[in-house]
């Protein structure tokens, strides 16, 4: 496997622009590039962390929320997806699910390395999906691992697959998220993800959405923040995304103890389901 060491975590804006330019070229690859992207010696900035924590209604502690680690690390995986030989077009990819395992929390004082690969290219009912695996380590110690599953709709590299997710039944809500029309712009400012589908109705319409949509990772991170300190230091945080949240929107949520199984169940919905998942403490 080829290892590409980037000098810094790349900006998402440049990656989208590059990917958009290359998407007009025909893609011939049907396999994933055998490559890993690496950025060494990453540190969090205190002011940036505070902005993130306040946006997500997290208390501004020195510990990095797991969703914030995603913000810092995932652009490395995006750089891999923006390669000309990546078989799926970056622009228009749909975030289907996200699974994070945090072994211990990172803090402002930590210097860490980010490692990203793409695996498991496979068929989906409506196209082709792929897993982006991002790991964050301090020295040899892996502290955080994220698997982000993306779907390229209408791209059939290996035929069509099945949707094996069970149908959504709305539970009793525990609260709601009142998401203003600038929600996408505010998360974009903190996450660096200025994908036009999140920024305004006009730019979202250009990509086939009736209005701007919330970032999936923003809603997933809001759900994690809702669990609070009860998530502990080590946990699995897993979410499946359904329909995008059209902005502005008031979303019903349930973030509640999963009962005897331990951990917390997460769900967010309006007239349609948006997100389900769970946060499970690990030993």
């Amino acid at each position: 496997m080829t290892v590409v060491v980037l000098p810094d975590v790349p900006g998402l804006g440049g990656l989208y622009a590059r990917a958009a330019a290359s998407s007009v070229r025909p893609r011939r690859q049907t396999d994933l590039p055998d490559v890993a992207y690496v950025v060494r010696s990453v540190r969090a900035d205190p002011a940036h962390l505070t902005d993130y924590q306040h946006l997500l209604a997290e208390s501004a502690s020195d510990l990095l929320p797991a969703g914030y680690v995603h913000v810092l690390a995932f652009p490395v995986a995006t750089a891999l997806m923006a390669r000309a030989d990546f078989p799926l077009p970056l622009v228009g990819l749909v975030h289907l699910s996200n699974r994070v395992t945090q072994h211990r929390p990172l803090s402002l004082a930590d210097t860490f390395d980010v490692h990203a690969t793409a695996t498991n290219l496979r068929a989906h009912r409506t196209g082709t999906q792929v897993d982006l695996v991002t790991t964050v380590s301090v020295g040899d110690d892996v502290t955080w691992r994220g698997v982000s599953t993306y779907l390229a709709k209408g791209v059939f590299l290996q035929g069509a697959g099945e949707d094996d997710r069970s149908p959504f039944v709305p539970p009793v809500p525990t609260g709601q998220w009142v998401l203003a029309s600038d929600t996408g712009r505010r998360y974009a400012a903190v996450s660096g993800d200025h994908n036009p589908i999140h920024l305004s109705s006009l730019t979202a319409k250009a990509f086939g959405f009736p209005r701007a949509i919330a970032h999936g990772m923003y809603t997933a991170s809001l759900a994690l923040a809702g669990v609070g300190a009860a998530r502990g230091d080590a946990f699995d945080w897993s979410v499946d995304f359904f329909k995008p949240v059209l902005l502005p929107s008031t979303v019903s949520v349930r973030i509640a103890s999963a009962g005897t199984a331990g951990g917390f169940d997460l769900a967010a919905w309006t007239s349609v389901p948006h997100l389900t998942g769970n946060v499970t403490p690990t030993p």
Binding site: P46, A47, T50, D51, Q53, H54, S59, A60, S61, D62, L108, G228, A229, A230
Partner: protein, 440 residues
């Protein structure tokens, strides 16, 4: 008419002891520094979580948590409860907010320890927080009334009429100030009056400031604060601490208060506390609770006395209430100033400490104002603020009480049984709160 026999007097038992079991704070920052964007809730939660980590309280249901902030936004009506919910404490821990100007932190210690003494609580956390960087800003009173009128207006005409009343000058925000609502003098200007009245020199004030910096720096160097302070946002020590301060440097600073008085202006930025950001917590408990949690009591909270002065009409200086609280407190407990191994007098200004001491040492003041035969007494400087105080550490208003109580309790425990401490905090509004602690 039948006479009732009087009910038997309830059997009175002395209340049990309430102990300080530990404390934790974040380093205090100067306003506009590394905590500039941290809210009161952020800092209080960080200090609480540090305490939780230090004493193994994850998921623990504490009897009650009381805390407060002097500068508090109205949306933070449940600041303490919200901080508890954001912390690693059990979500079933009750909490309430307290506000008593700069005495807030000490008042939470006093009221919670009284509840423990009465048997209402087994454990408690007393705390305080303040930010002058992230302070709430209100709209002007006129604009506030007009906006409320606007929200009540029904027709378009009514709405327009309400809007038309708003003038550009109404739009100026009103930031919180440290000036007294009745005298319109800042706290510094008030203290300048008291300083002049007692003839305190700048040199004497600078000596107090220098000792504060040197003693706090020495305590950090000795590791005294290793189990009392949790780093936050890159700070590991109080940002205001100047270990290399000197009398020459302090003397070179220009006076900032009392410039309009006939007497020489003596109060500088060096012998006054800076605007600060920070939070502190104190863990309290009964002997039984401490034993069940393998915690060692450091000191017991013995008694407390509050006082207030009529500074509005110039009878006494704004920050002089402790001068009256302490004699009442000591008389009730049969003690004199000589009975204390440690005396903590909050350094709002260096001259606050000096004017309080001067009043206690004055024969005339003792006779005419305290009703004594002569002077109340004097405090050996070697026992005063032994690990430095607010001049060096900074003074995030409501967080100062917790800083002092945790520091002095640890020092009492170090010195051993039989040692005793007096704590005095002055506050806006002419308030003062004082307390006695004894080594456990």
């Amino acid at each position: 008419m039948a006479r009732r026999t009087p009910a038997a007097a309830p059997e009175t038992t002395l209340p049990r002891a309430a102990y300080v079991l530990g404390g934790n704070r974040i380093p205090f920052a100067r306003a506009g520094g590394p905590y500039a964007h941290a809210s009161n809730q952020d800092m209080l939660t960080a200090a609480l979580d540090g305490l939780v980590a230090r004493y193994g309280l994850q998921g623990e249901r504490i009897g009650e948590v009381a805390a407060g902030a002097v500068l508090k936004h109205s949306r933070d009506f449940n600041l303490t409860r919200e901080s508890v919910l954001g912390s690693a404490l059990s979500a079933e821990t009750p909490a309430y907010d307290v506000q008593m100007a700069c005495a807030t932190g000490l008042e939470t210690v006093v009221s919670l320890s009284n509840k423990i003494r009465l048997g209402q609580l087994e454990s408690a956390i007393a705390a305080g927080v303040d930010t002058t960087s992230d302070a709430p800003i209100a709209v002007s009173d006129r604009l506030r009334r007009q906006l409320l009128d606007l929200s009540r207006a029904r027709s378009a005409g009514q709405k327009l009429a309400a809007l038309a009343k708003i003038r550009p000058k109404d739009l100026a925000p009103s930031a919180p100030r440290t000036s007294e609502p009745r005298t319109h003098l800042s706290m510094g200007e008030h203290q300048a009056l008291t300083t002049a009245q007692w003839g305190i020199t700048q040199a004497a004030q600078d000596e107090v400031a220098l000792a504060s910096h040197q003693r706090l720096a020495a305590a950090y160097d000795d590791g005294f604060f290793d189990d009392l302070v949790t780093p936050f946002r890159g700070l590991t020590r109080d940002a205001n601490l100047r270990a290399d301060s000197s009398l020459e440097k302090l003397a070179s600073l220009k006076p900032t208060f009392g410039l309009g008085l006939d007497t020489p202006a003596t109060m500088t930025a060096g012998n006054s506390t800076p605007l600060s950001d920070g939070a502190s917590t104190v863990l309290l408990g009964s002997a039984e609770w401490a034993a069940a949690h393998d915690l060692v009591p450091l000191a017991s909270v013995v008694d407390s006395e509050a006082a207030a002065v009529d500074f509005v009409h110039g009878v006494d200086g704004l920050l002089m209430a402790p001068v009256f609280a302490v004699p009442r407190l000591l008389e009730r407990n049969g003690l004199t100033l000589d009975d204390f191994d440690l005396v903590e007098i909050h350094e709002a200004f260096a001259s606050t400490v000096l004017t309080i001491l001067a009043a206690w040492e004055s024969e005339e003041f003792g006779r005419t104002r305290l009703g004594l035969d002569g002077a109340f007494g004097s405090v050996d400087r070697a026992r005063l603020n032994v690990h430095g105080s607010s001049l060096a550490a900074g003074h995030p208003f409501a967080a100062t009480g917790g800083r002092i109580i945790a520091t002095v309790s640890k020092e009492l425990h170090r010195r051993g049984p039989g040692t005793r401490a007096l704590v005095s905090i002055c506050a806006a509004g002419g308030l003062g709160l004082t307390a006695i602690l004894e080594a456990a």
